[in-house]
Subunit: 413 residues, 2 copies
């Protein structure tokens, strides 16, 4: 990898060789970060070269990615997700310009496909034929799907409380699913012991530094879709901190390589009932664990696994933090659906809910241009879509009853 | 529309002007079919021109589509769905070459987005601000989503038995949903009366001939993704007959315009419990209604609304008909998931289930090349995904129990 210099610990600064099966810092256990040679990148690729590429997946940005040139990585078509000018929603929210990036339109319907595709590519480079993780959510389903497409085996550890629907998706992808009679900590511990024993490749975004490099491709895409003219802000939901870190890394990479000439400010949105990272920023104190009181399950992370990178990202970008209630999240589902035709899961639309609130609170000026990232499909969580939805008009099949109902409810037919 | 000559009745042959709000034949009530001027199309576009286009949506084939050049139609990013070489699945099925077209990766997660995007474009041309249909399935959700993105209102009529999750999706897209206390016939009748009374644009694939023209874009994409070298067969699930008719129309268009030099044979796959069209072909008799005994709800159509076009398509292509059991459909869900990372709904994978069976029965030779179209995402129907899935390994969080379970079940870790 001529474009990669090394992996550097964000805690102690140690530099280690970027081998395919990197985990944490061998000296202090801190999280590693992949370091690039931007002079080299600048010398081999230009924005125009990327724009001319036929490859519509995340791998069109290969010069910015930590993969060997000969690695075969194009299994599932990850990336190339829709990017919409949301003029009507911008008007409703009262902001000058708004774009929606719908990353729910990915092979397994979430942004996590970007990380899992990277995990599969690095596992192949490492000579592994099996990948493992412990998760019940989008990380697990995207890993199982991407690994299946590449012919790799997966072992997924889930706590017994995992929803059957999600387990079903994993089993359909051919994963060996281990339902652990215990809580998430028990599940994680057993997976760590098993990974250690069997030598499986480890897909854990807070341990394996390559996964963030996959996630950052959403930022690379956004920048290209904006024709390299960045907006003032990018709003995104935050759970364990890996995604917002990845987004920030992507923009910084492009800035360092001279592809964009300004960096956006991040709008970090968490749920009111679970906002340890935003609270740390707001109070300018170290982060502390919180309860997980939100229906937005994908960001219900009371003990974030990637706090340092996330906090750095928000601070470096001179970002904004805002927390939203579950009601505000459900309202954002309807708002995105009805104005943009974009159906996101609760955690997926939390960024948009936060943008709305940040505008109302004056944290973001109405003259701003903003990208709001939707991180997963509403079909992932139909139960909460039902909570968001309201009720249909119910009537006998008679036209005059319909007219009556329209009149009563003030519906213009 | 210089590329469109007229709309022609497939029953009485009457030719009528292709106005934006076409429904059925004004003379005999038959279904209309859009007629193109292939000499004109050939004179203005080449395969190379299309390949060079940046637009990755279905509208990149605009010369083959019945829309005015000035119509603004690029609202949701419909089309450009993944196309995979499925070598491992081909080996398992015992066929020389197999491709999977995953049309579940679309904005509302089904092929129906192609028809609904077309409906919205034509409604805008017709000056309508409201579209209506009666359906509980993918047609409804794709219409609601595509119309929301374009700023059009939708009225969706559903029978009261409609699953709440699907109703929730419609409501999140801002549709006015009318839950009719009656069966599907009652629902359809009330919607027809209301459409008549209020003058809404009619999105009904068997009445509005433009919708098939949207659906055909999946065939145009397949041909381009094959670099205009068609496979011997294309396998697809069949319900009311509109999709297979659209697919055939797409290939015939390309053939007539000289873009491809051979037409594939269609593999028409229905559920054993509901196969009126395949039965008509197999027995060489007129079709007759059937019960709707299958869990593949999107193709459970006992009284198909587009029988003539579908039967013509299968016969003209010298196609193959094959029916599959619900067990075979569920098995195909697992097979596609575990070998390709493609998670389809039951009706979505029925084409693949049928291909498997057709190969086993010798209806399709093992030397053939085949495309199998997956028409909708497995997230649309998690309940059946659970039926398909099997059970996870359940155990206490202890490594030796895991080893024991692997040994017992013959799992190589």
């Amino acid at each position: 990898m001529k474009n990669v210099k090394c992996a550097k610990c964000i805690k102690c600064g140690a530099e280690v060789k970027a081998v395919p099966d990197l985990t944490t810092c061998p000296q202090c256990g801190g999280i590693l970060d992949i370091q690039y040679d931007y002079d080299y990148i600048r010398s081999v690729v230009t924005p125009e070269m990327i724009e001319a590429r036929k490859d519509q997946t995340m791998w069109r940005y290969k010069e910015f990615l930590p993969v060997e040139p000969e690695t075969e990585f194009n299994k599932l078509k990850v990336g190339g997700s829709p990017f919409y000018e949301a003029d009507r929603l911008a008007e409703i929210l009262g902001v000058a310009k708004l774009y929606i990036k719908d990353d729910g339109v990915n092979p397994t319907a979430s942004l996590k496909d970007r990380a899992s595709a990277m995990a599969v590519a690095k596992a192949v480079e490492a000579g592994a034929d099996t990948i493992a993780c412990s998760s019940t959510g989008n990380a697990a389903s995207s890993l199982a799907g991407n690994a299946a497409a590449a012919g790799l085996k997966t072992f997924i550890f889930v706590p017994e409380r995992a929803p059957k629907g999600k387990v079903a998706q994993l089993l359909n992808f051919g994963a060996t699913v281990i339902s652990v009679q215990g809580n998430y900590e028990d599940t994680f511990r057993l997976s760590a012991e098993a990974i250690d024993k069997y030598g499986w490749y480890n897909r854990n975004a807070a341990i394996n530094p390559y996964l963030m490099e996959g996630k950052k491709t959403v930022a690379l895409e956004i920048a290209e879709q904006l024709h390299w003219k960045m907006t003032d802000y990018v709003a995104i939901s935050v759970g364990d901190g890996c995604t917002i870190s990845g987004v920030w890394k992507g923009f910084k990479d492009l800035y360092a390589a001279g592809f964009i000439d300004k960096l956006p400010k991040l709008i970090s949105v968490q749920a009111e009932g679970c906002c340890p990272l935003n609270r740390a920023i707001a109070q300018n104190k170290p982060w502390e664990p919180m309860e997980e009181n939100t229906l937005a399950d994908s960001i219900a992370v009371g003990v974030p696994r990637n706090p340092d990178k996330a906090l750095n990202a928000i601070r470096e970008s001179e970002g904004v933090v805002v927390n939203v209630s579950d009601e505000e999240i459900l309202a954002a589902m309807r708002l995105l659906g009805s104005t943009c035709g974009v159906f996101g899961e609760p955690a997926g639309v939390t960024g948009t809910a936060g943008l709305k609130k940040a505008l109302e609170l004056g944290l973001v000026p109405k003259t701003a241009s903003v990208v709001s990232v939707v991180t997963g499909s509403g079909l992932k969580d139909v139960a909460n879509a039902m909570k968001a939805a309201g009720e249909p008009i119910s009537l006998k099949p008679e036209l005059d009853l319909l007219e009556e109902a329209f009149a009563q409810q003030g519906i213009k037919a």
